[in-house]
Amino acid sequence: MSEPSTTPARRTSSKRITSKPLGWLVPAVTLGSALPLAVLIWDAYTGALGANPVQRAELQTGLLCLVLLILSLATTPLRLVTARLGVAGGKGWTWPARIRKSLGLLAFGYGVLHFLIYLFDQGFTLSTVAEDVVKRPFVTAGFTALLLMVPLALTSTPRSVKRLGFARWTRLHQLAYGAVSLGALHYWWGVKQDHTPPLIAALVIAGLFALRLLGRKKARRSGVSG
């Protein structure tokens, strides 16, 4: 994929997708990530969710949240690795960084939906929910992961970067590491016996952290971290 150099953080407000290089990328990622929600609604409507549709929807939205969060956290390692491989004159791919925000926000959206389905499941009995959050580590982990994502979603605009200053904004957004780790733990604890899927998720997350550390150590000081 050839990539003309562009300055990051360009406003895409009302441009057509052809008016700038890779203008189609963010809308495509957004649409692609929203597709499972459309299918889920369709499944619910046609009764394809099986005998326990609420639980099925709860599981799938939670899983989508975790997968998208992992994808958003894969963008920086991808840039670092491609830079190490000498892609684009040692700068690495720049396109992953452009979809990081969309992936993060979509993950948060699915996380909120997952939590809302859980609230619905509990009949919006807030006393039960509070007891769950306080007493059961499994729920505590998931709830904390979602809470950690709130400030990230609120400060996802270029304006917030300006307001906080780049260094502080970056530090704040490292909360995403905590969120994804707690999300994986929540997934692990939520499974009755078959721990293979949560284990795969945990290994992927660990692998991405390792790549990040290796890439950081060896990357030239480019003034950009993630």
């Binding site: 360009r10 692609g32 597709l35 005998a51 769950d132």
Partner: protein
């Protein structure tokens, strides 16, 4: 081919772009550029959406047609009047009762048993009865069934995961079978063993649990009139995914106690080591009585979702059978013996 002026495509829009305009050196055919972008847009969206679907979507299984009739009941019809052990609550539709199952021998997904039950051969089938009995024997399932008149029992079934069903079983009391075998004075427990055959049970090719599946009851629990051996469901032969050809139904305990596809019943002096209590001793005890006051370590047991309902309902002590069975546990600390 045209050379693109810097502000091409932006003429009708306010320029809110803070970055310098692109260099005018790119040679572009706008139409081809548009088609290329549209193709990349579509491909990326489809690939990402498809990938996420593959990773996260698990559609429910479609229920299969019922096996042959067994007795004279039409689908969903339940014999009236109700007996002393029957619940009058609406029965879970056959399609749902046979498509949403925990039966790890087929796989850990709820849809796996219905999808894969075709690989289970329920005839010929023998049940070995041994241990502390005066009449140990290995008996063919059809012979065993012929020993007892078949009864209907409409039981609640509460899964440890927090969902429940109402199941119209067809079968005979476990007590009748045990008495026929004449337990010795040493018999204190009944141990049940399920079929162990990875050729028929694809889930047994993985070590997700310690195979074969083993369950057990204290002898007085097993002799209680509610403890039931089921060979049919809703007037039809038990489907494979529900534990054909012979399963236990102990309605006041969590579903995992009601072992499916039984090949051996052994009377023992010592408490049997049961599969789930080996897998996670702090989560699944030997007694596993339905108890809203004793939470599972990772979730509350105070409520349950009856399959078919959108809202949850309160879970009852002993799954609503306290009046009949609470006496079995007099003086026992149910928090300790969970």
């Amino acid at each position: 081919m045209t050379i693109l002026p810097p502000d091409h495509n932006r003429d009708d829009l306010p320029n809110d772009d803070q970055s310098p305009p692109e260099s005018p050196s790119r040679i572009v055919n706008p139409r081809r550029e548009f088609l290329r972008s549209a193709a990349l847009f579509t491909g990326t969206a489809a690939a990402l959406g498809g990938g996420l679907e593959l990773l996260t979507r698990r559609p429910g299984a479609a229920a299969e047609a019922a096996p042959g009739e067994f007795g004279d009941l039409a689908q969903g019809q339940v014999r009236r009047p109700l007996g002393p052990y029957d619940t009058s609550e609406p029965v879970t539709p056959y399609a749902q009762a046979t498509s949403y199952n925990n039966f790890y021998e087929f796989g850990t997904d709820k849809a796996d048993p219905a999808r894969l039950a075709g690989s289970l051969k329920v005839r010929p089938w023998t049940v070995k009865i041994d241990g502390e009995v005066r009449k140990p024997q290995t008996v063919d399932i059809d012979t065993l069934q012929s020993w007892f008149p078949l009864e209907d029992r409409i039981y609640r079934m509460r899964c440890v995961e927090g969902w429940s069903m109402v199941m119209p079983w067809l079968g005979f009391p476990l007590a009748a079978l045990i008495r026929r075998m004449e337990p010795t004075g040493k018999a204190k427990y009944v141990q049940f063993t399920a079929l162990n055959d990875p050729k028929q049970f694809p889930g047994q090719r993985t070590r997700v649990l310690d195979w074969p599946y083993v369950e057990g009851l204290r002898l007085d629990e097993a002799l209680h009139p509610l403890a039931f051996m089921a060979v049919g469901l809703q007037g039809r032969v038990l489907p494979g995914q529900n534990g054909a050809p012979l399963r236990l139904a102990v309605p006041w305990k969590y579903g995992f106690k009601s072992i499916k596809s039984i090949v051996r019943i052994t009377l023992t002096e010592k408490q049997p080591k049961t599969t789930w209590s080996i897998a996670a001793p702090d989560e699944y005890g030997f007694f596993a009585n339905v108890n809203p006051a004793v939470p599972h370590p990772r979730w509350s047991q105070a409520t349950e979702r009856r399959i078919g309902d959108l809202s949850r309902r309160k879970t009852l002590p002993f799954n609503g059978y306290a009046e009949q069975v609470a006496g079995l546990y007099k003086g026992m600390d149910l928090k300790k013996f969970y």
